[in-house]
């Protein structure tokens, strides 16, 4: 077992190394960070050259990479080219906001997905199932930027115009220590995220439950005289939900990255917006810092999940 864990850790480190090389090259080739100053009459060619030298952009690519990597392994993600602040500090201020948004959305998504998936499976091919299926496909197909903007235009802009109570657009300065204000400002972004994700998850739950309901042990449970509710919740759902829990578990690292579109539309000060804002300016240290954190979380949680499976799944035997 220990040799397996050590092997997986080394594999994970190697994977991370490859990811950092790819991410570095992708960000480096995404454009010149100083291109934004190209037509800036305030800066002479000498000014731009001095800035390029100071940011280390004149160094060969491999030197730039190893400099960044050398600091990163010591826990220093460097300094933003333009904000001139430590990247870890910038991420630290945004991460809590993202976690609150993403986990609230995830909890609502999973709750609704289970509810709709179960109803849809139990009432297979009924009118209810068809309605849920139709709306699931619509929710799944509509791009998030459309649903997020649409929700805002209806429940914030139009409701105000119609004289109805309306929800905030998120762009006002609001008091984050006031729980009521917090919840009001969370409603629209969480709804936009949940709308899209619930649609996909509920289809997954439906299929999973239908598969389990056809198993022999369910027939046995029914034959024992258990009522439908007990069979569904005590026997079918526990097994049917297992793959969903796995998927949700593996989603966790991606929640750290936030939601670029939703955070942007609702002016939510999270990781997604931080990434997008600095990617547009080709501020490599910030972009690479965020990518490294997400990648590390994915690799670590994948290893953890694999190790856990070796304990819980008797079919897995390590030589």
């Amino acid at each position: 077992m220990w040799s397996y864990i050590v092997r997986r850790i080394f594999q994970g480190l190697f994977t991370l190394l490859i990811i950092t090389v790819l991410c570095f090259l992708l960000t480096r080739f995404s454009g010149d960070p100083l291109a934004q100053y190209a037509t800036n009459p305030r800066m002479s060619a000498e000014d731009k050259e001095a800035l390029r030298e100071r940011l280390g952009l004149n160094d060969p690519l491999y030197v730039q990479y190893f400099k960044w990597l050398g600091l990163a392994v010591q826990g220093d993600l460097g300094q933003s080219f333009f904000a001139k602040q430590p990247v870890s500090e910038m991420i630290g201020t945004r991460l809590p906001n993202t976690l609150i948004l993403m986990f609230t959305a995830e909890i609502i998504t999973v709750s609704f997905a289970l509810l709709l998936g179960i109803i849809s499976a139990v009432k297979q091919y009924s009118l209810t199932d068809n309605i849920i299926t139709t709306f699931s496909f619509i929710g799944f197909s509509v791009p998030i930027f459309f649903s997020a903007l649409g929700l805002m235009l209806i429940f914030a802009v139009q409701f105000k115009e119609w004289g109805l109570p309306y929800l905030p657009t998120g762009a006002a300065v609001w008091d984050k220590s006031d729980p009521v204000e917090y919840i009001k400002n969370l409603i629209l972004p969480v709804s936009a995220l949940a709308l899209v994700n619930t649609a996909g998850y509920s289809r997954f739950v439906r299929t999973s439950i239908l598969e389990v309901l056809g198993q022999d042990y369910i027939r046995t449970a029914r034959a024992k005289g258990l009522n439908g509710r007990t069979v569904l919740f005590k026997h079918a759902l526990r097994n049917a939900a297992l793959p969903l829990v796995t998927i949700v578990g593996l989603d966790i690292p991606f929640l750290l990255g936030g939601a670029i579109v939703t955070e942007s539309v609702y002016s939510w000060p999270g990781m997604g917006r931080l990434f997008w804002e600095y990617a547009q300016r080709s501020d490599y240290p910030v972009v690479l810092g965020i990518l490294l954190i997400i990648s590390t979380a994915v690799v670590v949680l994948t290893i953890v999940t694999d190790v856990i499976y070796t304990f819980v799944d008797p079919r897995i035997k390590l030589g």
Partner: protein, 594 residues
Amino acid sequence: MKQKLYVLLSLLVLASMVLAACGTPAPTDAPATEAPATEAPAPTEEACAPAGTEPIAFPDGGKSVTGAFDQEPDAISPYFTQMSFAIWVTQLTLVGLGEWDDTGAFVPELAVEVPTADNGGVSADGLTITWKLQDCLFWSDGTPLTSEDVKFTWEVVMDEGNAVSSRTGYDKIASIDTPDATTVVITFSELYPPWPTLFTQGPNNTGGILPKHVLEGKTALETDPFTRQPTVSSGPFVITEWVPGDYMTLLPNPNFYKGRAILDRVQIRFVADSAAALAALQTGDVDWYPNFSEGDIATLDALQPDVVLTVLPGSNFEHYFFNLGKVEGTDGRGVADNEGFCPFKDVRVRKAITLGINRQAVVDTLLSGYTSVPASQWPNSEWYNSSLTPDAYDPEGAAALLEEAGYTLGADGIRVGDCNGEQTRLSFNFETTTAPIRISIATAAQADLAQIGVEFIPIHTPAGTFFGQYVDGGPLTTGNYDMGGYTTGFYPDPYTNNYLCEQIPNAAQPDGVNWYHNCDPFLSDLMETVNSSVDPATRKAILDEAQAYIAENYYVIMMYARANVIGSTPRFQIGPAGGSSNMNWAAENWDVTE
């Protein structure tokens, strides 16, 4: 065993939620906001004492506005940033010796008057400029603001230990003398006609005075907390709170030289883009957004009067240009690596393409008629040659010119002709960025030019690639393009080296800025002479000649004068604003009407 899996995964979720619950980021350190109980008048000569030492606290029911910025300022110090949003905030907090007002006039700010030869501020040889500061100037913390602060600012800029974004112009200063607390004598080592752009704030320059009493003895100021968030102010407001990624709050400076601002508070909320800002304007969540593009004008126009549209035509301009590729150069000047598109060397072809694009229709339709087609590259400024008029759309005239140049319609509707002994189709690439308004305009130009038998093929690349440096193969710098288009501007100082033969980028000189790859020795020398005099009248006369010469040679196609497009709520009164000043130049007069 599977129950254990549940438990473990649930623990992971819970652990993450605990992290999430650790709360929102705390505001960065802010100065205390306990203020004098009563408003005090601005310092006067009779009572030369500060009106307060702290920003004026926000009273219950006070007047407050919220703006939306789609980029969070990187540093609120004029010498350490080039970001427009940051510069807009420095206009509120760290002012300079002079500025450009809503009419485009250069006016004093901390100074008594603008130096001129007549008032003795500019020496006969143009090498010495003397500024006279107003009496009784104070920083927001009550410390006197004197000529020593101006000299200190220059020392900060020139200190190699400080990573300032530009030393242009400041490096031409030989010395600064401060014979008394209000007199600043600047001596240049060589003639520097754009001296008004130093220590001042304008449309294309950013300067201000830094507080010696706060920064003296420090180095590496680019990472100093003051550079990120100044704790004292010389402008109408002081930053008192800044929550990264979220918002900043500014309160009135009790010692502002023009007196206390009318508003009791200004807040700036950081949003993602203009769409989010527009929705917030409609609901009243924010009061203004200063960064709409010209492409948003029609949308904003339709929302009036619920949203107030303000369009301020400025001195920057969108222009198209031809790659003339003087490969061998002229008399050894202007060597270019790329040939350019052969037909463009014929002025008749360049003129035909200019006449063949309906620029006025672009302004009238895509820009809702709020700006104009200028005749030269110095629009909406005192440097503009007003005797010139832009060419009108004339497809028949354009076709006739192409016929005269030997380009006749081919079977596919594209003209073909002889260029340096080779049959050449009038089919070429036009390169620009991916900005939506540029895509719309290029599409319109493509349709117009197709009607005269010219195939104009737009290629839109991200700005980072389009403006890429020479070693990265950037099309503008390497000359690897046929036609190009982008926005620039030469104001408040009119000088540009974009036409200098010696500035064509090539392998030996990759950082050259003549991206037109056009070496016209006469024009190049003319532009050099613009900088040989400090006398504005002399410079204007030479520049007028240069503008006429560029126009008659059709070196560039002036598309439209760029504009600042501001959306605001009806309650917010932004006061007089112009293209050169933007709306922040007199923020002390901002007001709200309920």
